[in-house]
């Protein structure tokens, strides 16, 4: 790793001061589990790192039944996995958190960092999409809210402007009775990036039964399987032939690449298989 400088501001205000006078080769750091790896591999060479980890305003997770779950930018994946309301109301997020890396890494890695990295295999992305998450951004020009689906604009790309950071991600409480799950397929049972991830949520909402499906590692930008979701809308217990149709529709809305982790063809097949598995599991949990 090349030499670099690091600042550790104690407040958001101080962080913005540093960011406003820093040059173009500046990176903010939360857990650093992506950033440091990229630096070690010489993919990025920041001259200055602004470490957010001392900033109180970015810490913690809060839950409010009317608003939902607010995950601060410094909340680690383990904090999210262990939060009682996450287990109760956001099981897809909880599954995803527990599928992320291993226990030691999860003590450092943050949920928001995972979304900011915008790597298509990021395990937090699909669950945040099915829970219709919204990113809270703060920057020199003020505050704004951007849905996760729009926040990520491509592989390793997001809408953040220079000097802007993410304060938190908010996940509204699913309306009515709900169930969810996240299934991750990797090359082994732990510590792998997803070949395919499938997040599924079922809610009984104020109206009819609704299904939401989103996939990881198979599209450049976050995706919701709208056609598949529509096929299922209002159906209380889908039969196998409907599940097959849903799987077909799911496979049609992804566009994976071939890399050393899996071929495009295998990934497409797995979107179908895992969609069916995820739906069955959600219905079991419902």
């Amino acid at each position: 790793m090349l030499a670099f400088e690091m600042e550790r501001p104690a407040s958001l205000k101080e962080a913005f001061e540093i960011l406003s006078r820093s040059g173009p080769d500046t990176a903010v750091k939360a857990g650093g589990t992506d950033l440091l790896v990229w630096m070690k591999k010489n993919l990025v060479h920041p001259e200055l790192i602004v470490d957010l980890s001392l900033i109180e305003e970015l810490k913690g997770i809060s839950f409010d039944p009317s608003g939902g779950l607010v995950i601060g930018a410094l909340a680690t994946v383990n904090e999210v996995a262990e939060h009682p309301q996450v287990g109760k109301f956001y099981p897809a997020l909880m599954d995803a958190a527990l599928s992320h890396s291993d226990f030691v890494m999860r003590n450092k890695a943050t949920v928001v960092g995972n979304l900011c990295s915008a790597v298509p295999s990021g395990d937090m992305i699909a669950p945040c999409c099915v829970y219709e998450g919204v990113m809270h951004l703060v920057g020199p020009a003020g505050r704004r809210k951007v849905p996760v689906m729009e926040f990520i604009t491509g592989p390793r790309k997001n809408v953040l402007q220079k000097g802007e950071i993410v304060k938190s991600v908010e996940l509204p409480l699913p309306k009515g009775h709900s169930a969810g799950c996240y299934l991750k397929l990797g090359r082994r049972n732990a510590l792998d990036l997803a070949q395919v991830g499938v997040a599924c949520v079922i809610t009984d909402g104020p109206g009819e039964r609704e299904y939401r499906l989103s996939f990881g590692a198979v599209t450049p930008r976050p995706v919701r399987a709208k056609v598949a979701e529509d096929l299922l809308r209002g159906v209380v217990s889908p039969d196998e032939s409907l599940l097959d149709k849903v799987a077909e529709a799911a496979m049609a809305c992804v566009d994976p690449i071939t890399d050393v982790r899996a071929s495009r063809e295998y990934r497409i097949s797995m979107v179908g298989e895992l969609t069916k598995k995820a739906l069955r599991k959600c219905l079991e949990r419902f």
Partner: protein, 805 residues
């Protein structure tokens, strides 16, 4: 009569040496050594292309980086190194031959400056066509990786073929195979292939080199398995006398063969011996990516076996063709090719044999030693094809194996008579424990369950004259120090040596310590490889300890004026019951005894022992025949019970049972550890490991993000390990090697279990989820054989959609 009594001797369950320090984190590895501000750091700049002539290398920008002291290029350090074949230069000279080959070594005041310097070295190349497919390159030879092969020095038992890409060609010619095929009722011909795999030890290579500018003496601290082999290879490569090189190996964090021979030391020396470095120590600590790219790998292979079988199921003839992908260097990898070759009929008796085992150069990282040394490769093929053959002739695979087993007295493919062993009994136990012949319902609803068996065999693969020596010192406090230059890299050899010394000296194990190797203090040992240490070095340790015991007893006999036979050493106390004497070993052992005549006798007790195998003769280069080609074989069997999720291709191992004939378990705790560990490593290799390249020869699996190894969540719930003890004749206590064997056969056993579960034969390792999923799909259409030729994968990859736009 035995004159020692101990509770910790050979065969006892004792706790392991150095585990306390490892658990506490206080054991100092090479990277933990401190050299103060004198220390310089080195980093290699590496080739970005797989094959090309070096037109120019511009180091001017690198030299401008603050802290950079020197950039050394290949033509400033032209030395060829190699254990068996001198085909490796530490820095590319004139040509680059693989992506990742060092082209320059940047030496700087800090690690960061060295790295920045390395990034700023700019090279221009005239690209040459790279070659990757060993079968094509072995037969075509239109592009040569080493056109200079003829000029390379090599040992006589390696047979390079100048003008081709064959770095070694090992042959067996025994009987008449063609006639055997004609006389056979069935002829089965099948092929299996496997990519390169990597060791995945925890500690990346690290070394520090220093030259005394006044005398030229070199000191090397390094994470190496074999200090003396490192020294010899460096001495031969530099044309240096042995006595001017000192190699010190602190504890190493795993090896598995990956730190055998000489690895990065010569590259580091290119820095340390540079005149501008002026004798300062230079440290080279490579990253995981560099380990994956530029240290040994287990060679990939494509192997074909043709078998002729008579109507009763007896194998009459076997023709083997093995192409090993040795990458850019065969300096070490030439020998696993030979080892697979001289064991090329596996655990079976075959009267007529024709084997061609080739090491083929390609433009890839280079093959070398990896646990099993040619035998996981061989048995990965053999045990698959034996299974196929059994099914083709309609015989139960267990019965087919037993029918052809290499019974004691029958000749191996090299013509050496097989010694006594308990393989049939081990097979019986494994078959019973796993219920190999029983069909059981899957434990997971909707999954498919299958069981498979595979046999294992391996001899220590080493030169006929691989010798060992040891020193056993008894200290003034009654404790013992063993100087045996074996590296204990986790396998637990130091505990075994301590148990041997305890057996011979009657001193408890907790008072015995083995010291990590240093060529300046330790007597010679060839290498810590080949599962040879408890056997060969064990003999030296036993002799040295017995020598020390005889010295102690004779001193006490004189001191007490009693016959030596009346003395015993019991738990560290020297006793003579008839004379009513009992005294602990104390400072008199060091300073001498005041004898009844008033004079002092004795002085520090130092026992010594040496050993060289007395009766091995190299196989003939033309026919592979020899009266005794190897010292002994260890045989065993693995039974495995797996389940497949047809929706994903995910394979879970329910249970595995592995048994080996170890002759004698010196240290049962370590024998069990070796069997369990190797079984897990074999399962990991079988299920997920592989090194892959793109069409330009760039490694796609350079780190643990993409080179996957089994975690605790991927290993079976039940690992049953057991052993039989048929004594080995020459051995110190009847023991045979067991370090590598457990790695040999889990992978083919899984393949056979998958066939049992799915009815599809997968001919390509590993059994990754994606590949098994493909097999599941084939099972639906009734297809029976899945074969992914590894070297067309690069071509598929070339055409694939690889990026989003």
């Amino acid at each position: 009569m035995k004159q020692t009594i101990t509770n910790d001797g050979v065969g006892k369950w004792v706790t392991r040496q150095y585990d306390v320090e490892k658990a506490a984190g206080t054991l100092q590895y090479t990277d933990d050594l401190r050299f103060g501000p004198e220390l310089l750091h080195a980093k290699a700049a590496r080739s970005t292309i797989a094959h090309g002539e070096i037109v120019s290398i511009d180091v001017s920008e690198a030299m401008k980086v603050p802290g950079v002291v020197k950039v050394i290029l290949g033509d400033q350090f032209v030395h060829r190194f190699g254990l068996y074949l001198h085909d490796r230069t530490p820095l590319a000279v004139g040509k680059v031959r693989y992506v990742g080959e060092p082209i320059a070594l940047v030496v700087a005041e800090t690690e960061e400056a060295a790295e920045e310097g390395a990034l700023k070295v700019k090279a221009k190349y005239k690209e040459l066509t790279p070659i990757f497919d060993p079968v094509k390159e072995a037969t075509d030879n239109s592009i040569l990786v080493h056109p200079e092969l003829e000029s390379y020095e090599h040992v006589p038992f390696i047979v390079p073929q100048p003008g081709t890409n064959l770095a070694n060609w090992f042959r067996i010619r025994r009987g008449d195979v063609e006639k055997a095929f004609e006389e056979s009722e069935y002829v089965v011909e099948e092929a299996v292939n496997c990519p390169q795999i990597a060791h995945g030890f925890l500690e990346p290579h690290c070394c520090i080199c220093k030259e005394d500018p006044a005398t030229g003496y070199l000191t090397i601290w390094t994470a190496a398995q074999s200090v003396f082999a490192t020294r010899e290879i460096i001495a031969a490569g530099l044309g240096y006398p042995l006595n001017k090189i000192r190699v010190i190996a602190p504890p190493i964090g795993g090896g598995f063969g990956g730190k055998a021979g000489m690895t990065i030391e010569a590259l580091c020396l290119a820095g340390a011996m540079d005149p501008d470095v002026k004798g300062r120590p230079v440290k080279l600590h490579i990253s995981r990516e560099e380990v994956m790219l530029t240290s040994w790998v287990r060679q990939g292979y494509v192997a074909r076996i043709k078998m002729g079988i008579d109507k009763d199921g007896k194998i009459l003839g076997m023709k083997n063709t093995f192409y090993f992908d040795t990458g850019v260097s065969a300096e070490y990898g030439a020998n696993p090719v030979r080892s697979a070759g001289y064991t090329s009929t596996g655990c079976y008796y075959v009267p007529n044999v024709w084997t061609d085992s080739y090491a083929v150069y390609t433009n890839k990282p280079f093959g070398g030693a990896y646990r099993g040394f040619g035998l996981p490769e061989l048995m990965g093929v053999m045990e698959t094809i034996i299974d196929i053959a059994a099914h083709k002739i309609g015989m139960d695979p267990v019965e087919f194996r037993l029918k052809n087993i290499l019974e004691p007295g029958l000749k191996t493919c090299t013509g050496m008579p097989m010694h006594n062993h308990a393989l049939p009994k081990i097979i019986e136990k494994v078959v019973d424990k796993v219920g190999i012949q029983k069909k059981e319902e899957p434990r997971r609803p909707g999954w498919k369950r299958g069981k498979g068996l595979a046999l294992a065999i391996k001899a220590p693969a080493k030169p006929a004259d691989a010798s060992s020596s040891a020193i056993v010192k008894v200290l003034g406090d009654g404790t013992v120090e063993i100087l045996a230059a074996t590296m204990d890299m986790g396998q637990g050899t130091y505990t075994s040596f301590a148990q041997m010394a305890s057996e011979e000296l009657g001193i408890p194990v907790k008072k015995i310590r083995c010291i990590y190797p240093d060529t300046n203090s330790h007597p010679y040992d060839w290498q810590t490889v080949a599962s040879r240490s408890c056997w060969a070095m064990g003999m030296a340790v036993k002799r040295a300890a017995a020598d020390a015991r005889e010295q102690i007893i004779s001193l006490y006999a004189q001191y007490w004026q009693v016959p030596p036979e009346s003395i015993v050493i019991e738990h560290g106390i020297v006793k003579c019951r008839s004379a009513g004497k009992a005294e602990p070993l104390d400072e008199r052992i060091q300073n001498g005894f005041k004898m009844p005549d008033g004079y002092y006798h004795g002085g520090p007790i130092i026992g010594t022992g040496s050993f060289v195998p007395p009766d091995v003769i190299y196989p003939d280069n033309e026919t592979g025949q020899s009266p005794k080609s190897v010292v002994h074989f260890t045989v065993g069997a693995v039974g495995i019970d797996v389940e497949v999720d047809p929706a994903t291709g995910c394979v879970e191992v329910n249970r595995v049972s592995s048994g080996y004939d170890v002759g004698k378990a010196i240290s049962p705790m370590n024998v069990r550890g070796q069997i369990e560990g190797g079984t897990v490593q074999g399962i990991s290799a079988g299920l997920m490991e592989g090194m892959y390249y793109d069409e330009k020869g760039r490694l796609l699996t350079p780190d643990f993000t993409d080179y996957k190894i089994a975690t605790i969540k991927d290993i079976p719930e039940e690992i049953d390990s057991f052993w039989e003890e048929t004594p080995e004749e020459l051995s110190p206590y009847g023991n045979r090697g067991v370090g590598e064997h457990s790695m040999i056969s889990p992978a083919p056993a899984i393949g056979n279990a998958l066939f049992n579960a799915l009815g599809v034969r997968i001919h390509t390792y590993p059994f990754s989820r994606e590949r098994v999923y493909k097999a599941v799909q084939m099972s639906k259409t009734g297809e029976e054989d899945l074969w992914d030729y590894p070297y067309v994968q690069e071509q598929n990859y070339k055409k694939a959609k690889k990026e989003w736009f």
